[in-house]
Amino acid sequence: MNTIFSRALALLLPALLAACASFSAINPGASARQVETLMGAPANVWKNADGSEIWEYPRGPFGVETYMVTLGPDRAVREVHQVLSNEYISKLHVGMSRDEVRRLLGRPRDIGFSGLNDEEIWSWRYREARVRNMELYVQFDRPTGTLKSISRFQIDTSDGKRQ
């Protein structure tokens, strides 16, 4: 019995550790391999012209954080950023392409369509000041594929009973 338990624990432990892997453990200078060992494979890799790369780690679908790890051409970590924050959201602007938005904020939590099907909405959930639950909507015009509007909301978690 005890053996089974410890065997199960031995199997589960790496998974548990991976789940709570912390991006604060990754410092500039760390190797690409160290990043993969600690965080697993990225959801997406963006290759830049200068040979540098950006690895995307959304902590979704219910996660409220997305990390972008920038690696230099030498495949050493340059920077790590949590991008679901006002600092990055304020870089959004009208006219951006889907690809530019994806590079800035990573994979959206969800993608929706308007009734007339000519608009596409990308949504993210994030936390502001660690406590406020926020929802971000980025609306694209489908025919042109460009950003049309940005709206940010605070979710009323009291179900209308706030006062």
Partner: protein, 163 residues
């Protein structure tokens, strides 16, 4: 000259305002259907009940924050006039209710969005409760039944208004 123009502009603005907000306070229980139509125009939708009574729905436009429901009895006499975009009515929305139940209760939404990955349909109304807010009803799209409701407060990024 300037004064005359100002006066004309002010009068025009007043006239537009008066036309924009049809005066539902002028309708009282006991009024006839004809009186209702004469005062506030034809309804946006009519809901007929089995007992011969009717509910006339008056949404005030997609930027408005009010929707009026005029309940008429089987004799086509006004029984009640209610403004439905508030917590009194929102709190009656329960998981499992149909699209029609919701529509009869709070009227036509300003927007409908589809989220294929979650098989979800989101209906949105704008309303006023201390601040301008959005009330959302999230439906299971295939079942056509309410999953949950969500209240959002729009928050503008510092230094930026609506986009």
């Amino acid at each position: 000259m300037i004064t005359a123009l100002h006066r004309a502009a002010a009068l025009l603005a007043l006239a537009l305002l008066a036309a924009g907000c049809a005066n539902f306070s002028a309708i009282s229980p006991g009024d006839s259907a004809t009186t209702v139509e004469a005062r506030v125009g034809p309804p946006g939708a009519v809901w007929k009940n089995a007992d011969g009574s009717e509910v006339w729905e008056y949404p005030q436009g997609s930027y408005a924050v009010q929707t009026f429901m005029v309940a008429l009895d089987s004799g086509r006499v006004v029984r009640e006039v209610r403004e439905v975009l508030n917590e009194t009515y929102f709190s009656r929305i329960r998981p499992g209710m149909s699209r029609e139940d919701v529509r009869r209760l709070i009227g036509k939404p300003r927007e409908i969005w589809y989220f294929p990955a979650r098989d979800e349909e989101t209906w949105t109304w704008r309303y006023y409760d201390i601040t301008y807010r959005f009330f959302n009803v999230l439906f299971d799209r295939s079942e056509g039944t309410v999953r949950t409701t969500l209240r959002l407060d729009e928050v503008f990024l510092p230094g930026r208004g609506r986009h």
